[in-house]
Subunit: 368 residues, 5 copies
């Protein structure tokens, strides 16, 4: 077998099994804000970016109120909240922008599935950023955004570098972004997320191949049931995040809202193609992953077959020979063969004949 | 293997296998009231709660007729019937509120699947509360409700604590509930039920992981087929309860009824998102549970492989050696080797050589 | 294991394997009447029931022509034909009521799947009654009905007791039936059939559990592949009968026909809920039945594992001991150990040590 | 086991594996006529049948041009072409009836799936006739028809007897056919094809049962993997032919064309019911066929279990006994038992005790 | 077993495992052109074909600008770009024809799934050409085309011979192509691609049969898990390419664009039939391929059964015989049988009796 480089980038440590996120608040008053995630960040920071084709301002502050200052009506405001644990700030933001209490609840409820809600003055979108963290653990980042007239508010659980390249593009006035509205900014963020999904399915493809390599290389001994199961779980989680997100993009494409420019729709349609590509691939990897279990099963059976053959050959050859030896180990008074001059050699000849006969038999059966 | 805390909260006793509920009345006149559940409660109790933003009354009575007293038109009445075995009281209630005979039949027929029926003057909703009781048995609570102008009637099979937190919210005027109509009260009840579904899928997730842990820990010997089958059955039952419930919520969202306020629709849409989250998770757990059987199969095969290897190694090593010993146990008159000075030692040398050779062979095959 | 009462009511004898009904007439002129069932009844009987809120007449006759007599326009006529083999009578009936030739063909074609056909003057409905007969064989009863202005004609293959309770209800004026039209009578018949489906899925549930009990009780030896296959076949047949029937009920609910009263629609909607309950359950039982095969497979593998362990333990312990005995059965001139004073006892000590060592090894592997 | 008559009518010879038909012409100009089937018929024959309620003419000619003669406008013309290899004649026919080149291409392309195309002046329908030929090989007959004003042209690959009974019905003026238009003739042909599908699923049902019988009868040794695979292939081919045909019938029922009479629609709706019956059955047989593989697997495992038990019992009983005999075959100077008066008999007693003990052990384990 | 010719045309070398194409650019500005394929071609060539019913010009140039020259308005221009690595030329082309930046991005993004985009002045279509290259590796060719008023631009990754036959048809004025518009040219290209898909499924059919042959021929020893897995992967890749392509054709058929002539729609509808045929076949081959794994599993199990039988027969026969020989090898002082005149012969008789008895037993069990 030719050697192939095994890519096992995301070697997942076995201890922290991540569960599918569930809503943990129970029997709570609907509209009550409780951050359900696990990324308690001491310091919530707010990135304020105001831009127009000609202007670009970028400050990072501690208090969301600073975002409420008057600004030039032509400028686009991007308010990015890092960290969801400071309920108070989010409530003040909600008050200022007149966000519905249910929106605020969904912003901090990390188990909320991807969705889009249309309100008269703004659009509310929830989706998931999935990534392997530095320890290789499969992580879930809950992202929500509110698109209003000339402003976009984004919420993430923790400081991330997802939006970095976008921020630089705005700073450098690279691409269309500075000349387009807040709707294009929203598209650009979602596009970055979809690009990230592509790297994830790339990783999954690599892991499936690594497992196939283990299965195809006959020498491998390790029990990979657990790895396959882990992979299944991740494929299912990715699926759970991406399929509703595709619905979000689809509805965004068909939406009839003055917030979204005609020209941006073309880009969103393109985005929809990309998400569909991701979902297509997920379904393929799902089938491949499920198939791995069957392959593993045949591999085990093949090995058992080999073990059984060795046993059968050894036992089938030596048991008859031992019997023959046993015969002439008997103590009967009259065993004529024992007294033959070359009896011992005749027996050896017979034994070798039996041995060769059985060998030939197994050869013909292709067991040797 | 690192130790993980096994969560087995709902250790289900093996004896009472709960069947999927079936309608047991046969060839009966449609509209005949027969309570088909098993929770015969001697005493049917009725909770009467009347409230408005400023007023709150709460009494528990024995006779449903006490609910028919005149009340202030601004007040919302919540009539909660605990226990369905007293057909007579339910019929009187039905008469007073002019409920269709088929509604009454569905209220007491515990096998009725979740549904919503629209009548000119009221909405009728049926759904299921699923929970593990104190003995860990998976229970089914049949709940129905009638939403009318300014009143909500709820029916449950037995006294439960499902609505307790809601009752307290009304008493303490916490949240929106006191300021909203009967439609919001209905939403709040359904929201509590969905919150409860989340705890159920949390429990299922724990049980699947507990079973996976047993499968991954090689030492485990117990036959877990039965546990997997039990889990399958519960996943299917949950599915049967939640999927039609999602349809109910969906229709509620789209309904065109003056009984449901525009503002409540927003909450119901949010509820729909939550139920969809539950159904998504159920489908994932379904796949995981079905996959457990395959994993178990490979585990069994892996163990058999190990057993076979031990047998093969032992037999393959000692059968040839026994044969060699047998040779020199023969009584031929002329076996020259027997009379060699160091024949016995030569044989031992040969035997050790064979032994080491076979050992090396198995080592190279990675069976040792 | 605690004992559970095994319910095996419909113990199906293995000999008569019932095939899925197929249309057997070939290359026949469409519209030709040929009874395709196997229940040749010598005597076709006709039940004539005429009723109104105040009147009730019930006669059983031999000749369908007697049903054509003039009757009071307010009365509802229910003509029930028992037996489909007398083509002549059915043709005369068809002529009198101006039934389309294709309807007559479908009435006698027992392989016709459930359906509803709308004609200007009447509705034609076909469905299936499934039951276990006295020998426990799963039987198929082809039922069709024609609903016209003030009359209902029903056709069944053989005298059955399906409609008995309904007939009594009419006689005793119990329930709504005497005060409602022929459409309600049709609903009542279909309701009785659905009630019967419930008993069937109850039976299937019992059989699945009985098979699970056999699988879980480790001692069971019988080959249950055949029983599982039989069950699969019945689930599929039930599915084939009930799923199109649900479509029939669904279309009946949405139909725009002056033959069906507005109030009856409410009952039909309720019936639809019930049929959906049946189809939900069938799909669950289908999954459970298919899962049985996997369970059986693991059970077999578990047993083989046990067998292999016994063999491995016995062989692994005694083969080395036999080798040791073989050594000292050799006839070399010089085997010093043989002449030791306590050589025999030393060997026993060594053998016991080997024995205990292997025992400890297997104990640690949890094979004992 | 009671004997059942095994119906194995279509014993398929193993040599000619028929592939799913594929279009073989490549990169060809669309509209080029190439007969892609394998039934090269030297002589293309044309059956010309002209009929009206009172007239009936039937001739078989060699040249399609003879069909173009003037005829009475009231008469229905049925032109049946046997054999598709004479491209020239088909082109002349196409020219006369102004058929679109793509229609001509589809007529001779035997891989064309069932479909219906509406053209202003005619309808074009393609479907498949499937049958087992005399050697039991599963054959595919490509049939297409063109329905125009007062004429119907049918094309088949080879002389077949499919239409024979229909031709006789026309000759004998049996049934509706002589009094109805060309549309009814088309229906009658399609009805004959569906009737034929019924015989096919009947045959499949028989074959599935024959395979089940082999599986259930424990003695069977043959490897039926190949038969199961063959059956799967045929079920899939039947599915591929019938499912699109159902769509054809469905569209025919809903078509808005002056070529199809209102009264014929009723017949076509009935035909749709029949095809749906066939597709329902195919899906059931598909599940049954796929299930056969699982059954076979358990059968193999069960047999292996039996083999292993025999080995385990034999080895477990005789290996310890052989060891005991080995002990007293040793040549130690001092083995006291050897010199006991009844030592030999004592040993026999011990051996018999061990033998019975093991026998009891295996009995209790239910291995005997 | 009769011999069958094994067709293994595309013997795929095991080393280069081709991944499903993924978009590799990340966090890039949407609309940035980066060629993502692996076919870096030094020289991008441009084929310019201008034709009308009477004129035909064909030149191959290096620079796309030469295509922008004025031409007669009646002529159809086909501009075929071979190679996508020269971003500059593609941008100049895009500028001239006013193509949207997203179109240019999709042209060079080889991971783009098949799609159709409608723009006011042109249609943009993406699809995939799949083929086995000379080394038998399954290759992916990304093809896109822009259909405008009187011109068609096609883009392929590398020089291919896909369009050769079409070019010749234009040169020779064969078929409809010279007399029809650019829309028919587009159809002709897509038709050639679909024809190619047919050869692919033909190849897959051959490979499935080759694998089945290996499975059915009992002697085969090789592990075909890898081949089956490879086949699965290819079926899934083909599926991923063809299913969205079918959607493209479907939308093309229903499109309301002045660019597509009414007469061409008829051809596109025919094309849709052909693609559906391909997708039908893919789904069948998918099922067959998945079934191969089950077949392989039963084959392995069958072989193991055979191995076990040999072992069981050998061991069961010789272990008791060896025991018998062992008995009379013992050294008890008093073993009366040893001193019988014909004791040795009596024992042989007993041994032969045991031997024959066991032989008969195994014969009756059909293990021999």
């Amino acid at each position: 077998m030719t050697k192939r480089i095994k890519i096992k980038k995301p070697k997942i440590p076995k201890i922290p099994k991540i569960k599918l996120a569930h809503k943990k608040i129970q029997n709570d008053v609907p509209g009550t804000l409780t951050y359900t995630g696990s990324k308690e960040q001491k310091h919530v920071t707010v990135d304020l970016i105001d831009y127009s084709p000609s202007i670009h301002k970028n400050v990072t502050v501690d208090d969301v109120s600073q975002a409420f200052n008057k600004k030039h009506p032509e400028e686009i405001s991007w308010i990015n909240i890092n960290g969801l644990s400071d309920i108070d700030q989010i409530e003040r933001l909600g008050e200022h922008y007149k966000l519905h209490p249910l929106i605020l609840e969904d912003i901090v409820d990390t188990s909320q599935r991807p969705k889009i809600d249309e309100y008269p003055d703004y659009l509310f979108v929830v989706f998931k950023m999935l990534y392997y963290n530095d320890e290789g653990v499969f992580m879930n980042e809950h992202i929500s955004l509110v698109l209003g007239e000339n402003y976009l508010i984004t919420f993430q659980e923790a400081d991330g570098d997802v939006f970095d390249s976008l921020r630089q593009r705005i700073a450098n006035a690279k691409g269309r972004v500075r000349n387009a509205g807040a709707d294009y900014l929203m598209f650009a963020i979602m596009d970055a997320v979809v690009d990230h999904y592509f790297t994830l399915i790339e990783t999954m493809s690599d892991r499936i191949e690594a497992l196939e390599d283990i299965l195809f290389s006959n020498t491998a001994e390790q029990d990979i049931t657990q790895d396959i199961q882990e992979l299944k779980r991740e494929v299912l989680r990715l699926r759970k995040a991406v399929f509703p997100f595709r619905e979000v993009v689809n509805r965004l494409e068909k939406i009839d809202s003055q917030l979204i420019d005609e020209r941006t729709i073309t880009y969103i349609r393109d985005l929809y193609d990309h998400v569909t590509q991701v979902t297509d691939s997920i379904d393929i990897y799902r089938e491949m992953t499920w198939g791995l279990m069957d392959m593993y099963m045949t591999t085990i059976s093949n090995k058992m077959n080999e073990v059984m053959k060795v046993l059968t050959i050894m036992a089938s050859i030596f048991i008859p020979l031992t019997f023959m030896a046993g015969i002439y180990g008997m103590n009967f008074d009259h065993i004529p063969e024992l007294h033959l001059r070359y009896g011992y050699y005749y027996l050896w000849a017979a034994m070798i004949a039996v041995f060769l006969g059985l060998l030939y038999y197994f050869k013909r059966k292709k067991w040797l």
